[in-house]
Amino acid sequence: MTSDEALTPDAGPAGKAGRPAFDTSVANQARIYDYLLGGKDNYAADRAAVDAVLKVAPEMGFAARANRAFLGRAVRYLAAEAGIRQFLDIGTGIPTAGNTHQVAQAVAPESRVVYVDYDPIVLAHARALLTSHEAGATEYIDADLRDTGTILSQAGRLLDFTQPVAVTMLMILHVIPDSDGPQALVAQVMDAMPSGSYLAVSHLGSDLLDQEARQGFDNIVRRSAQQQYIGRSRAEMMEFFAGLDLVEPGLVRVEEWNPDPDTAETGRSTLWCALGRKP
């Protein structure tokens, strides 16, 4: 196992923008996702919010599982088919089964993975639990997605930006409002990556939820969650991939992206996803 040396204290002030406090009395994105996936690292406020959401949008449970499965298939594709050995996972979430480095290192043990999250609980759990295969390496960066400067400079300690990198931003861009320029943030990260790098995104689809469910969902989230969720349309989703070539089958719902033939669970999620390659 290689280092996960202290990367926290020097995160710039910009990195603190919108950082969630350690507060278990309001629902929190990472813990909501953990609960949807069947994890135990969540608190009463998270469960109450999820239970309320599932009443208006019952497909959210399937969506969370389908997103997790998409992560597995995309990372496996990147490691096995595309030969990627460096990963930058922005928006790590609470560790559960099949984390990025485990999927990648199962294919290529020497894979190096840098995790980025701004949530203190996620970082504590990630540092403790996401331990690398000894042939590879993992590292953790305490930074907000909006602070791309910190992310790139710190990730550069473990990743070699002259070699292709796969950047994953799964279920994270939908907490970034338009006023923070999410497309520009993605472009800043991808501009730093060499040709042959990849970008994977999954995102709440504003055009995948019906009007009623969307309003109910928005109301619950506004009332009870630390982060807001901004659904985006297929067209807005495409903007994240400007200048990149989409890998087949292109922009689809997460469960439709190269599904495993033996997938037991079927359903219809509310999440768009795509994988793009930098030419």
Binding site: M1, S3, D4, E5, A6, T8, F22, T24, G38, K40, D41, Y43, A44, P120, I121, L123, A124, H125, R127, A128, L129, T131, Y140
Partner: protein, 300 residues
């Protein structure tokens, strides 16, 4: 297929290979018994009366902390109106399986009764999270350190009993070498490292042992340095035992001099988990922790 219970679900789908630890089995049986009892609207007092035991015995049974005789299982199932012969025979057989002797049974002369349930829970846990303010976590103590600690509280106890206590502590550590070891995530206050237990040589060996333990993939050690100032763990040491099965409530273990408290109500457990998360966030990272221990070892 056996159908059973309020939800009509099959009991213990995970037990197909029945390789499961006796302690887990007791907990699963207990959880299922509680469901039966509640569905039948039977009070714990009434259930206790049925098997010539107290209300608290029922509570301990349902938490999997005591062994269940096949005859008591049979009587309780009857009281709860479980008449399906397939279900009954499965439960009665499992009750027999769950009371196979535990390895620590032969140390019962030196084990306080309040500590025995901990050994079962520890062996059954998928994740063990602890915060230590005083001593190195028992799972990572060297033999000499364990002997020094054991001697402290028991000045009047004969030497051979101390050796038996040390033997129990070392045998607990076998779970670290299991094929499916639990994930152990232990945060300790810097005071644990600074308190010279057993002298310099013992402490130096203990530091080396900790640094080695931290290398094990399923072990995470973190130190909260004095420099952190006041922290969330002011109330003292605690251990949270977490189980893979969603049905099994996690348990907080708090030890006192003459007894122990086991908390399994969700709000209590979550409060401790919250503190554990905060402590882990405030602590040195695992990599920094190993360097920190090495530094203290050089100063010792």
């Amino acid at each position: 297929m056996v159908t059973v219970g309020p939800g009509g679900e099959e009991p213990f789908p995970d037990l197909a290979e029945s390789s499961v630890d006796a302690a887990v089995l007791r907990m699963m049986l207990g959880t299922q018994l509680r469901r039966f009892r509640e569905a039948a609207g039977v009070t714990p007092e009434r259930a206790g009366y049925e098997i010539r035991a107290s209300r608290s015995k029922i509570s301990r049974l349902e938490n999997g902390r005591v062994k269940l005789k096949s005859r008591d299982m049979s009587d309780l199932l009857t009281l709860y109106g479980v008449t399906d012969e397939d279900v009954r025979s499965k439960f009665i057989a499992l009750a027999g399986q769950s009371s196979t002797p535990d390895w620590w049974a032969r140390y019962s002369d030196v084990l306080p009764t309040w500590f025995e349930p901990y050994l079962g829970l520890e062996a059954a846990a998928a994740t063990i999270r602890s915060f230590e303010t005083q001593f190195v976590n028992g799972l990572f103590q060297t033999e000499d350190y364990a002997r020094a600690v054991t001697g402290l509280g028991h000045k009047t106890i004969p030497g051979d009993q101390i050796e038996r206590r040390v033997a129990v502590r070392l045998q607990r550590q076998d779970l670290l070498r299991r094929t499916d070891p639990p994930r152990i995530w232990s945060v300790m206050d810097e005071a644990v490292l600074r308190r010279p237990i057993g002298g310099r040589a013992v402490m130096r060996a203990q530091f080396r042992h900790l640094i080695e333990a931290a290398e094990v993939p399923h072990v995470t050690l973190q130190v909260v340095p004095f420099a952190t100032g006041a922290h969330a763990g002011e109330s003292g040491s605690f251990t949270v035992l977490r189980f893979e099965e969603r049905d099994l409530p996690d348990v907080v273990y708090l030890e006192q001099l003459t007894g122990a408290t086991y908390l399994d109500q969700r709000p209590d457990v979550e409060h401790y988990l919250e503190v554990a998360d905060e402590l882990s966030g405030a602590a040195l990272t695992p990599a920094e922790t190993s360097q920190f221990i090495a530094q203290i070892a050089r100063e010792t």
